[in-house]
Symmetry: D2
Subunit: 457 residues, 4 copies
């Protein structure tokens, strides 16, 4: 999710920002721009580089832009549900792009339908537009404040009218959102600092939890519609979701993950021949583990750079083919070795089993796994596309059973305290609900993620 | 390049072998199969995964197959020049796939045209088919021997008739070629062992330099048409070209590259804060350097996994954009650091300059580079797609000038002796011509690589 | 526009009906089906044969279907504006496909926006859905009657809920709509009888002006929400728009057009060598003219069957290329001849000029043109995609000036009386507004066709 | 088939010529050009308008061009077999495009393979290139004459070197070939005059049977390598194959076909209500029949202009669907009528049966058919893609049996004398082999059309 304000190359900057944020959503991509008078719109299913071309970018003139990349979820992955959402109402345009999940959207939607509103999408973000339409006889800021205070849940958002860019972060600040200055004037807001780095913007500060930043008439004004409350940063951004070269919640992701590996080495020392990640998710914790433990780091499996869209079925005899076609075990290296794998997390545990087996088939004598976060036992209602409790392996099984299931000689998870220590912050700063079920904003009774589609980023 | 003999899934095995060998050629891919009676053929421009589908594979029945992936060269990249080449002559089919370069093909071609032969492609491999056609009144083995002894240069080849698979390696053995046993019976020949690993074949042995292996009537027979000579293995396969999980010329590539890093650390110790590769080419030497020197390994830049076909132009202000869009410098990590980069080789030096500058822009204080081979000063006539002498940076400049050009604080190349030592073999085993101009097979006077297109693999 | 009720192959029958109705709209095509519980939807830009495949049809199960093909208009030709429109409101589905134009939609839309409704499309049909949503606390029939009586203009419509098909024709009956019985049970409604013929349905009767036919629980019930009024059939359907093999408003189109040619021969006898149409629009009137006058019919120009999407520019020297590439003048036939062209209508007059010149260049001595309707001098507000008054050549120029502009030796238009006589009906039965400016339903003051996009069929 | 000489827009003129000749081959299209030094080549499967774009035309510089469109035959429809064929031999380019069939190509090919030649295609045209290559130590004209005198059969050809265009017509002149002058200088040769008309070239004369026209150094020279013999023009060009606006063998096709209809009316008068063609093949004979007999012409079925690539299966109940989807019977017109159909020819008789039945189902009381040529009882060896004797319905059945098979009330074929009379020429001028088995050039014993693919045009 990103927004560009007051730059003649707004669409181009939005494009590159989305390109840098591609890891946050691969299902669809969209950009809306305005030249002060008219609003332009391009969105489609697919990766940023596939959705946009010089030709489509040239159809997006203007000096304001918002952009969005969306998750691949099974339920409602179609062109209608791409973001940003754009409407024209009473001759004015309003666009919104949203990262996170509202937990009371079903209730809000029911009320709106009762008043005759027709919904086009299954995304919770559409509720926001209808609330704005119903308040549209009030001045814009009043309508905005009224709408925002009706929302519950996680919502880092960018909104846009013909002449205004608005950046919004919910009072708990679940999802990151930062502000930067573009090299030749103008501003950028983006989910992660890596977007700022790519376009050579200078990081200014994070949008504060509960802040609404309004960019209009070349001025930036902040309003705070909610009473203050404690922050609930999503620690899973640091563990897995954010890009390692980003600074999230004020801390560098690479270094946080490396410290997780170092603390893991202090909590659990294994007698192994070498440490390895499965590329590339555990790379940084693996480096931390290796440096702290003195056990050498090696690349026991090598990522295939040409993995494409192969849909060719293997022959019956080829075991663990789907793993081996992407990750090539270095047979002559693994033979007879005691291997320590560092993983960032285990969610469903579906690929782990055949990954471990492929190491054993290549000759590994022992396979141990260390995970740089605690067991993920509870669903997320705030925008991480976690499976339901039934599919979370750590919600179904104890650690030794998981080790058995994966075919490991041993399995260890980082402690909750160790994980938080690695961030340099405190337990109170974070939402840790997926580890400890302590949900900062209770979801609506009828809340069910699938009904509304996944989050967007 | 690969061949499958005596397996009902021949096309599928060939497909997966090519998939594993994709790094050896990304321009085009092709497979020819035979069911003993009829020969089938599918080839096109593009990656293996794009050229083939279940549908196209189903059009390739039979239990013999040969496959080929081809390099992207500028001169003659078109559908006509895809391999394997297949002809029908006097009602019999003959197909050939070739890795390497003939150095006397122009001369051979001139003679054939004089006799009325018409050439369809600009590939040297076509010469072989015409020679076979002209000798076609002789028994097949005789025609083959007569043809092969006319050829000079580097040629690992697979040939196929309706009922026979032939694997050929030139007497110097420039390019690798190995033989394996398929899990449920049948044989495979392939350029690298990584193809055997993917299809779970068991490695038997390398095809020997000067060996012609004929697979027919479920029997494997070897003939040796040339007098014995010293081997000239291409050391650049070990340095750069082959996949790290392959064993090439009997040695593991990963471990060889790691030893190159270790020897590099003994030859040149730099006082730096950390060692890093540019992903992924210098990964293995970087591990070796780090372990030998004790200087920690870090990932100072991170490969973008979503690099696609973006052709969107950056704005004028974005410096070194093409590097940064692929490789993300970890700004908060590089800041103020003395960085040691390990590279596998420097050919043209074109990308190096902006890579180094992107590190400095991200805050690096010093940038040193160590290269895990000697300066590459001479063109290759045997199948590595090296630029001409004019474009080889080390042929044009001395090492300090190269360092200056790349913006480095220091630059060091591994010694020729160090490189060979890392392989565990001797100088006599290898072709080192690109480093020392000692060409084992003198090229034809009129030889000019571009005239015939690049090598295939 | 078509609807299928109570047949297991509903989507397939809708597909073939749209295929037969393709001449009524080439911009986009869509089908919505229901199996009683769930509603399915496929639509896209393009021709029917391109939008649908066996695969997409298989995604449209159920025994109720409505389908639509849409005009190509310049203003708002995009995927959002394809029909049928489908919404889900309070858990119930409602779909609508509309042929014609509402003349008070801007007013209705303004009122709805005031109440907070958000519009997704620029089509007048969407107004109908919002009106239904606002009346959704009433029983369905009541809501429907309330909604319909608010509409003014031309609207032949099919509507669909999960279990009901509704066919609607406005009280003036501007656009045709007929009812048929499917060969194996079930019913079909369609804009023209040619759709019934293709699927071998038996024609039952036309939906009457002002009739609302409700198909539910395997019963057909009619209600009549409006007070009776005189009919205003669009005579341009007979002149040009409908397919010649259809019966429209109870009369056969082919024979009507042939009679127009016969009456034309009585009104204006030209001394020419032969009569010819430009294929294929004037074919039937040309036959009538030839038979009545005794002047032989010939094909002076021949339609090129392979006209494709050629965008290749001709060289400068090639005159009237765009005509000649589609219509090949038979040079050796035209040479020295006095040619009588029969046209069905002249709207903009843009292609006529070069068509006439291509005949002269092929050697024609005289070129006369007779048109089988009066001059079209006024815009249509009821669904024929006429240009604005400014672009209607007959609104700008008198007949002799048009003849001069087109390069004709003479030009004659059929009289209004002659045209109506050819139908066998009376002036009172028809809307003749495009000829005589007598508009049966006065348009809204703010009505402007472009604001709402063109009609659909 | 066409050739352009001495015009800077050679490729563009070739493109438009092929566009006009599209009816002669829809399988593939290709153009080769030369700018005097280098030769350029573009060809692909598909229609002319799909194969070429402004972009591809711009890759065809030069002022000489030859072009070709090819038939769709079942045997060998692939990219390899597209024409023009282009080779480079001893550094010189030679391209050939061929319309017709050689009847001794298998023999010639066997001899060439014996000498070591490798064939890439299954087209008889390739034989010509190999013969030229084997004679390439002789001066070009000598090599050409030597090659041509070895060929037997039907061959209208254009050949091209870097600086020369050659147009060749076999001594019997089976296939047409004409010469024209381009509007701004330069020459054109083409299979039919309709290509000249489209590019506004002036017709000069036909290339004479047995003539070889050499265009070089801006001079046109003719040589005549064969002894004179009687001509054998293919009368099927006049009956069916050529475009009606072309003049073929010096006579206009439209008028010839109309005269066939007139003579048909004299030979066989039917008592019917109206005459109709199935659009569009019998249009011209139908006009002749109507004018001569005084029975009115009507369009009893109407061609659907939107017939696309529909592959949707009809439901079981839909009879004769494939006919009705293309040709719409005008039900209210056919009801109770006695219909006289005029057809140009009946080859396999496969579509006729359901065409006739669709008329009966639409209500026709009687259906009579008259064919404007005699029964086609014998295969063609000279380039018309006739089926084998087994598939020719008139070779298998007598006329009354054919009438019964097609469901007709009566069937009549034009007499051989009547057909020839319509041309204004004599029996001696034509090849009438498909009607009377009198083959002017006896085919090779081993000749089998399928072995070599179909003809090209």
């Amino acid at each position: 999710m990103c927004g560009i304000y007051d730059h003649q190359d707004a669409a181009r900057f939005a494009y590159f920002s989305l390109y840098a944020l591609q890891h946050r959503g691969q299902e669809s991509a969209g950009i809306v721009t305005s030249n002060g008078k008219q609003v332009y719109n391009q969105k489609d299913m697919g990766l940023v580089a596939d959705v946009f071309s010089e030709e489509t970018l040239n159809k997006l003139p203007g000096n304001i832009a918002i952009g969005h990349v969306r998750y691949s979820t099974t339920g409602a992955s179609n062109i209608i549900n791409t973001q940003p959402l754009l409407i024209s109402h009473k001759g004015k345009s309003l666009a919104v792009a949203h990262n996170g999940n509202l937990v009371n959207s079903i209730e809000l939607r029911r009320d709106l339908e009762q008043k005759g509103s027709i919904f086009q999408t299954t995304m919770d973000s559409e509720v926001i537009l209808h609330l704005m339409a119903h308040a549209s006889d009030r001045p814009f800021e009043d309508a905005l404040q009224e709408t925002l205070t009706l929302l519950k849940g996680a919502f880092s958002m960018v909104m846009m009218t013909n002449d205004t860019l608005i950046a919004i972060r919910d009072p708990n600040g679940f999802r990151p959102l930062c502000l930067g200055k573009l090299p030749n004037g103008g501003y950028i807001v983006a989910s992660e600092t890596c977007a700022l780095d790519l376009v050579e913007a200078t990081y200014i500060r994070d949008i504060a939890p509960g802040e609404v930043l309004i960019c209009r008439d070349q001025q930036l004004t902040s309003i705070y519609p909610w009473p203050p409350c404690r922050s609930s940063f999503c620690i899973f951004e640091n563990v897995y979701f954010a890009r390692p070269d980003s600074d999230i919640f004020g801390i560098n992701v690479y270094q946080t993950r490396k410290r997780m590996g170092q603390i893991l080495a202090r909590e659990c020392r294994i007698d192994g021949d070498f440490v390895m990640p499965f590329p590339d998710s555990g790379n940084y914790a693996a480096i931390g583990y290796s440096q702290e433990s003195g056990i050498p780091l090696e690349f026991g499996v090598i990522r295939n750079h040409y993995v494409g869209r192969t849909f060719i079925q293997p022959t019956q005899s080829m075991r663990d083919f789907n793993v081996r076609v992407k990750l090539n075990p270095v047979r002559s290296f693994l033979e007879g070795k005691r291997v320590i794998i560092i993983e960032d997390s285990i969610i469903r545990g579906t690929t782990g089993k055949s990954r471990v087996r492929s190491l054993r088939n290549a000759g590994a004598k022992e396979v141990h796994m260390l995970v740089s976060c605690p067991p993920t036992r509870h669903p997320c209602f705030y925008g991480i596309d976690f499976p339901s409790t039934k599919e979370l392996i750590a919600a179904q099984y104890e650690v030794p059973a998981i080790a058995g299931h994966l075919g490991l000689d041993s399995l260890y998870y980082l402690s909750l305290e160790g994980m938080v220590e690695a961030t340099g912050m405190t337990m109170e700063d974070f939402c840790l609900a997926c580890f400890n079920a302590d949900y900062p904003v209770p979801p609506d009774r009828s809340f069910h993620k699938d009904a509304l589609g996944g989050c967007g980023c």
